[in-house]
Symmetry: C2
Subunit: 244 residues, 2 copies
DNA sequence: TTATTATTGTAACATTGTGTTACAATAATA
DNA sequence: TATTATTGTAACACAATGTTACAATAATAA
C-alpha cells in the first residue's frame, strides 16, 4: 500500500484502472555476503517509511501484479516471489500518514480520497542479491533503500509486522521450497549456499551436516572444474542436475 | 464467491456495504469416524455447485468475516480457521455460471452487475465435526451438504483446485499448527486422535510411533480415569496440560 | 623443493526421531 | 477361569541430523 500511477492524477478520481480496496505489499529481502536487508521507501517530506507496494490492474493476475511491482522498484524481471499472507484488519489503515503525504505533496484530496480508504493488502516476499539492484524511487518518494534487518525504523501502518511475518515464512519455506537456490549463480560452492542459509536463519550451521543434507537432495551435480584463489584446498563447484 | 445478503437486493446496486471485488471462499472440512467431507452449496435450478463463500463488510476484519461466513453455514461459533491462499487470477471468474444463476432466480442484472465482475478470493479452511453441524442453505441455494472428498463434482470456477490447495495446507499444517487438537473433546484417547490423523492424511499410521510422537509434544496430560466399554484393555483418556 | 597455513571433503561416531515387531496388561465376555 | 480384542510400552532397526576428527589440497613462505 503505497504508490503507483494513480497518485499522479491529482483529482482523486484516479485509480479506476485498479481494483479498489486491494493492494500488494512487497517484502523484498536483499542478500549479500552475510547481510540480509529489506527494501524500504521513504515518502517525500513527511519522512514516513513503508514497504514498496502497489495496486492491481483490473485485468491483471495477482502474481503478475506482484511481479510488476517488484520490477518497478528493483529493475529485476521474473524474480522469485511467494505470496505469504493477507493483512485485512479494518483497523490496520490509519489514514493520517497518507493524509500528511498527500498534503505535503500538494495532492488535492478529501476524506473520501481512495488512498485514504481501507485497504486489504496481499503480502508477497522476494529474495534478491542487493548488489544487483539499483533501487528506483519515484516522484513521491525521496528514497528507496536497503535497510539492515536489525535496523528497521517504525514503519507506516502494520508494515513492521508484515516484515516479521514475511521473515517467518521465508525461514520456514527455505527447506520446503528450496528458495535459496533461486539466488545462486549458475555454478556455486556449497560454502556459498551455506552462507545464504546461515544469513537467512541467523544462525551458524555445521558444515558436514549441511553438505550432507544438500547433497542428499539429489538435485546437485558436481562440476569437474574447481575454484581458484586462496591458500587452501579449493571447493568444488556445483550446478543443478539437468536430468530432472 | 457465492452468496450473501446483497443478492437479496435485486437492483444490482446492492453490496455497497461490502468491499468490492473481494470475496472469501471457505473450505469447511467435516470429520467423523473415518470420513472426511467438504461442505458444498448447490445453487437453485442451475445445479451449479460451489464452495460456501461471502463478502467482507467495509468495517469488518478479514478473519471476522471468515468466521461469520462459516457460522452462517454451520451454525458453529469460533471454530478454528486458517487463511491459506489468495486466488487472484484474472481469468478465474467465468461470469457465465453466475449469469445463469441470476437469470434462473429472476434477479435483474446486466453485464456490469457486481456479481459478474472479477473477484479476488481469499481462501480459508476450517475443520469441524460434521455430526455437529446442520448445514444451512438460504434462498438461492437448494442445498448445502457434505460431500465425501472422494466424490466431489465439477465445481464453479476454480473451486476444485481451491479445495486441493486447502487439503495440502491442512495436511502440512497438521503437525506444525496442531490443528487436530481443535477437534478433540475435552478428554480423548490417543486412538481418537490417531483416527483423525489417519483420515486427514489418508494413510494408516503405526500406533507405537504415533503415541510416542504425540506424548513427546509435552502438551498432553493423562487423566487418571479410564474408558469404559468393550471386552479389552481400556485406553487412557488425555487432556491438554493446564500448566502451559 | 619443502614446510606452513587455511579451508575443504568426508569418515566416523553420537544423538534423536521415527518405523516396526513383540509382548505383557487388561476389561469384558463366555 | 479361559478367551478375546485392544491398549501401553519395551526393544530393536533404520534414517536423519549433530559433532568430532582428519586427510586432501592450493597457495604462500621458507
Amino acid at each position: 500500500m503505497s504508490k503507483d500511477k494513480p497518485v499522479e492524477n491529482e483529482t482523486g478520481t484516479a485509480g479506476t484502472d485498479f481494483m479498489h480496496g486491494l493492494a500488494i505489499d512487497a517484502v523484498i529481502f536483499g542478500f549479500h555476503d552475510h547481510q540480509l536487508k529489506v527494501l524500504l521507501m521513504r515518502y517525500n517530506k513527511t519522512g514516513v517509511v513503508a514497504l514498496p507496494g502497489g495496486f492491481i490492474h483490473k485485468k491483471e493476475n495477482l502474481n503478475d501484479a506482484a511481479n510488476r511491482i517488484v520490477s518497478e522498484r528493483t529493475g529485476l524481471k521474473d524474480i522469485y516471489l511467494e505470496q505469504f499472507y493477507v493483512f485485512g484488519d479494518h483497523g490496520r489503515s490509519d489514514p493520517q500518514p497518507m493524509k500528511d503525504i498527500l498534503t505535503a505533496n500538494n495532492i488535492k484530496h478529501d476524506d473520501n480520497h481512495w488512498l485514504l480508504q481501507r485497504f486489504i493488502s496481499i503480502g508477497y516476499y522476494a529474495l534478491v542479491d542487493f548488489t544487483k539492484v539499483v533501487p528506483k524511487p519515484d516522484t513521491i518518494f525521496d528514497s528507496c533503500d536497503w535497510y539492515d534487518l536489525t535496523a528497521i525504523p517504525k514503519l507506516m501502518q502494520d508494515h513492521n509486522s508484515i516484515i516479521q511475518k514475511a521473515l517467518c515464512s521465508l525461514r520456514s519455506d527455505l527447506d520446503n521450497k528450496l528458495i535459496a537456490f533461486n539466488l545462486m549463480q549458475e555454478e556455486f560452492t556449497l560454502g556459498d549456499l551455506q552462507i545464504l542459509y546461515e544469513t537467512i536463519l541467523d544462525k551458524k550451521l555445521l558444515r558436514p551436516a549441511f553438505q550432507r543434507k544438500m547433497l542428499s537432495l539429489g538435485i546437485l551435480e558436481r562440476v569437474a572444474k574447481k575454484w581458484t584463489g586462496a591458500a587452501h584446498k579449493a571447493p568444488y563447484l556445483y550446478r543443478f542436475s539437468k536430468n530432472i
